[in-house]
Amino acid sequence: MKKESIKRQKYEQLVKLYHGDLFRYAYWLTHDKQVTEDLVQETFLRAWRALDQLADINAAKAWLITILRRENARRFERKQLTLVDIDDCVVLDEHCDIEAGLENKELTHALSMLSNDYKEPLMLQVIFGFSGDEIAQQLGLNKNTVMTRLFRAKKQLATLMTSGNTPQ
């Protein structure tokens, strides 16, 4: 009973600390609220089942992101194209209209032009504050590659925001 109680406390701590960041990260991966909720739920479900394997609570953030990224990859293995409801399109248009009025419109646009290879390390750095080594471990790349991608991502963002050109 005590062991279960400790496990439960550990789980609640993970939810409290990382749910928000995982949700934001998942949303930027999926761009769909429902899929984001499913993805984050599945991540925490798998985390709960494997919680005994998490020896160091300080490693929890990277561990949860690894689970989430695997789940996201599995989503693509399981599911093919999904039809989008027409009502959702209207909501998206409204969302875009609102964004159009915001100061960061250019940045949003520039970010959407980045390839995932550049966007993903950038997200891991900005949302989670990961170092180059941690991002490299997470993405299965070497650190130099990660640093190069971060450099190019930021340079492309700057170029896109000033010229509005598509990145090469």
């Binding site: 749910h19 934001r24 739920q41």
Partner: protein
């Protein structure tokens, strides 16, 4: 300006590398690049934070994960009440279910057959399109997960001889297949056998700490659907 430090100021403006910090201290241009990047990071951070608010259903589901396990294992007044309720249900069941002297297993399969017949009017009458994630939240407390929810049309937790059990309904061609996951709370005299009554047939087997019961209408080819469902279920050993 040293090109390496310039690149570092852009790719990793938070770097605490001593050489980088020393270069920063002596180079105002480098400091300016770093400051621009930190400002850019703040904007990006705000942008990435621009996600919708999670629904209450989602938050409840996250908080519910594992809670059934913990509650089942904590010994409290609720457990005594649950046992008392179970005993009452058992007594009621004894009145209504035909029990052969072969032991609890017979009661369990009889209950499964009766449950399938009773649920005929509501369980799986319409496809409720259960979310695979929500189903797996439900199944987590039984130590099992479902790989694909393609044929699943209905799910609920049911009282099964006083034991909270998972009840899933799958659509197989024109037949509805009832699947029960019953926690192993009693000793059963016989397992892994086929049983039937005048309307339904089924199989029961012990998997992990549960009994998996699959019920199909009589005359329906049970073997392939049973095999398919077994392959879709992933048990935590």
């Amino acid at each position: 300006m040293n090109i390496d430090f310039y690149q570092q100021a852009i790719s990793d403006p938070h770097s605490q590398c001593p050489d980088f910090l020393a270069a920063m201290a002596s180079d105002p241009q480098l400091q300016e690049v770093q400051q621009q990047q930190l400002a850019q990071e703040l904007k990006l951070s705000a942008l990435f934070g621009d996600a919708p608010t999670p629904s209450q259903t989602h938050l409840d589901a996250i908080n519910a994960i594992g809670i059934t396990d913990t509650q089942q294992k904590s010994w409290s007044v609720m457990n005594y009440l649950a046992i008392a309720a179970s005993l009452v249900l058992c007594v009621v069941s004894l009145k209504y279910i035909d029990i052969s002297p072969t032991g609890y297993n017979q009661k369990l399969v009889s209950h499964a057959l009766n449950h399938a017949a009773h649920g005929h009017s509501y369980a799986g009458v319409t496809n409720t399109h259960p979310s695979l994630t929500n189903v797996n939240v439900q199944l987590a407390s039984y130590g099992v997960s479902l790989e694909s929810g393609d044929d699943l049309i209905w799910n609920k937790d049911c009282d099964f001889e006083g034991i909270t059990s998972a009840h899933l309904v799958f659509q197989d061609k024109k037949a509805k297949i009832n699947v029960y996951v019953v926690p192993d709370s009693y000793e059963f005299s016989q397992i892994e056998r086929i049983f039937n009554d005048d309307r339904y047939q089924g199989t029961i087997k012990k998997v992990s700490n549960n009994y998996l019961i699959i019920i199909a209408p009589k005359g329906h080819d049970l073997a392939p659907v049973s095999g398919r469902i077994n392959r879709q279920l992933e048990w935590q050993i």
